[in-house]
């Protein structure tokens, strides 16, 4: 499986999906023009990944902000990861938020209430 490695831009996040290491990482701002198009390769990758996953998958999400259309795509990412958890695979979700950013903490909690995977909420210094 090919890894996904996308450098961040002012409108799009940095993305690292590493098959060998079982790492799924999205960092930065997510306000792409076309979220569905932007997230499609990631959803496809996860679709393949769930067929032959690592024993442990580490998910690091560190978003500064995201727009509404991204919010659904991010949910789709989590829904794929939920499949792993249902198959009794170890999935660790780390939701990073900047110190005092209660909105981003809340956004993580929103996802957690939909997805049946425990989230680790991690506060980071700016």
């Amino acid at each position: 499986m090919k890894n996904i490695s996308i450098t961040g831009s002012p409108k799009t996040p940095e993305v690292n999906f590493d098959y060998e290491k079982g790492i799924v990482e999205i960092k930065g701002r997510s306000i792409p023009e076309n979220s569905i198009e932007f997230y499609k390769p990631m959803i496809d990758w996860l679709e393949d990944y769930t067929k032959a996953p690592q024993s442990k998958t580490i998910v690091n999400i560190q978003l500064e902000y995201f727009n509404t259309s991204s919010s659904k795509c991010i949910l789709d990412v989590f829904k794929k990861l939920e499949i792993l958890a249902k198959d009794n695979k170890d999935v660790e979700v780390n939701w990073y938020y900047e110190e005092d950013d209660e909105d981003m903490l809340e956004a993580g909690e929103d996802y957690q209430s939909i997805i049946r995977i425990p989230f680790k909420m991690i506060e980071i210094d700016e």
């Binding site: 002012p10 409108k11 306000i31 023009e33 076309n34 569905i36 500064e64 902000y65 727009n67 509404t68 259309s69 919010s71 659904k72 795509c73 949910l75 900047e98 005092d100 950013d101 909105d103 809340e106 929103d110 209430s113 939909i114 700016e126």
Partner: protein, 291 residues
């Protein structure tokens, strides 16, 4: 308190390239403002949702009804105003939805948001409802919307979103070569000024800090045992009078339980003396701490 226009545009049409350049300009404007990063993020998010909705649902190319957007700072609030023509046949649906969202409590809004994000099919066109929910959650105040007949087919839709700065409990400015680190954490009750202070224009630099304090008067008054820690390595004379005014303002708004810790270099008698003088001016005893 001064009020001013932070940002505005009026366009006959919008597309993503234009939106990108608008948001870039907004980024630049925000970077020149002394808002805390959280306020900046909130302003940016509300603006981008609002502008995207205008682009997707507003009617373009009506010279007499352009797509208009502005951000105004009025006292301790930020006011976002958007105005665009919509098809009159969609008015009722939009109005009903906005009324519904306005009535939701914070908790119900959260519940509704989660259910929408979880069930709604995502389409490129869709998502206005979600954008409205996000804007409401960020601002936490009801939308003030109005409709005005424009032509047989079209109605002008104006929406005002208010974001209160009072909501923000932490103010932070990172230090630079010439300016100090400033953090007022009203939750932890810790206030700090540290580093160097020789800004190009000290009056402007400190006026903005004082404005934040003014806007959060109540927050200062409500603290039980606040501590203000002043740890300045160097300050120039134009900073000094501003720092004195700043401390005076904090003393004025805070309860008597306020403790001011003033740190000074080991053996620097002059600094110690100066601290005592400032204490006298602001009429508050300092706890002098030798570093």
């Amino acid at each position: 308190m001064e009020s001013y226009l932070l940002f505005s545009f009026s366009k006959e049409t919008l597309n993503y390239t234009v939106i990108n350049s608008i948001l870039h300009d907004l980024d630049v404007v925000l970077n020149n403002e002394m808002f805390s990063p959280i306020i900046k993020r909130n302003i940016y998010m509300i603006s981008s949702e609002c502008i995207e909705n205008m682009c997707k649902y507003g009617i373009h190319n009506l010279p007499d009804a352009p797509l208009q957007f502005s951000i105004e700072i009025v006292k301790s609030t930020i006011i976002f105003r958007s105005s665009n023509a919509i098809e009159t046949k969609h008015k009722l649906k939009l109005e009903t939805y906005l009324r519904f969202v306005n009535k939701l409590s914070e908790r119900d809004l959260k519940k509704h948001y989660i259910s929408v994000i979880n069930t709604q099919k995502k389409t490129e066109k869709g998502g206005a409802g979600l954008g409205i929910l996000i804007m409401k959650r960020k601002s936490n105040t009801p939308f003030e919307f109005s409709f005005e007949d424009f032509s047989k087919k079209n109605t002008i839709f104006t929406n005002i979103i208010t974001l209160s700065l009072e909501k923000m409990k932490v103010y932070r400015i990172q230090s630079t070569k010439h300016t100090p680190f400033i953090q007022f954490d009203l939750k932890q009750e810790k206030l700090e000024i540290s580093g160097q202070s020789r800004p190009e224009d000290a009056d402007v630099f400190y006026a903005i800090v004082c404005k934040w304090i003014e806007n959060h008067k109540k927050g200062f008054t409500n603290m039980q045992n606040p501590i203000l820690r002043v740890d300045l390595e160097y300050y120039n004379s134009s900073s000094l009078k501003n720092i004195v005014r700043l401390i005076k303002t904090i003393v004025e708004y805070s309860s008597d339980t306020l403790t001011i810790e003033w740190l000074y270099e080991n053996d620097d008698d002059l600094a110690q003396e100066e601290a005592l003088e400032i204490a006298e001016v602001v009429k508050k005893q300092f706890v002098l701490i030798e570093k």
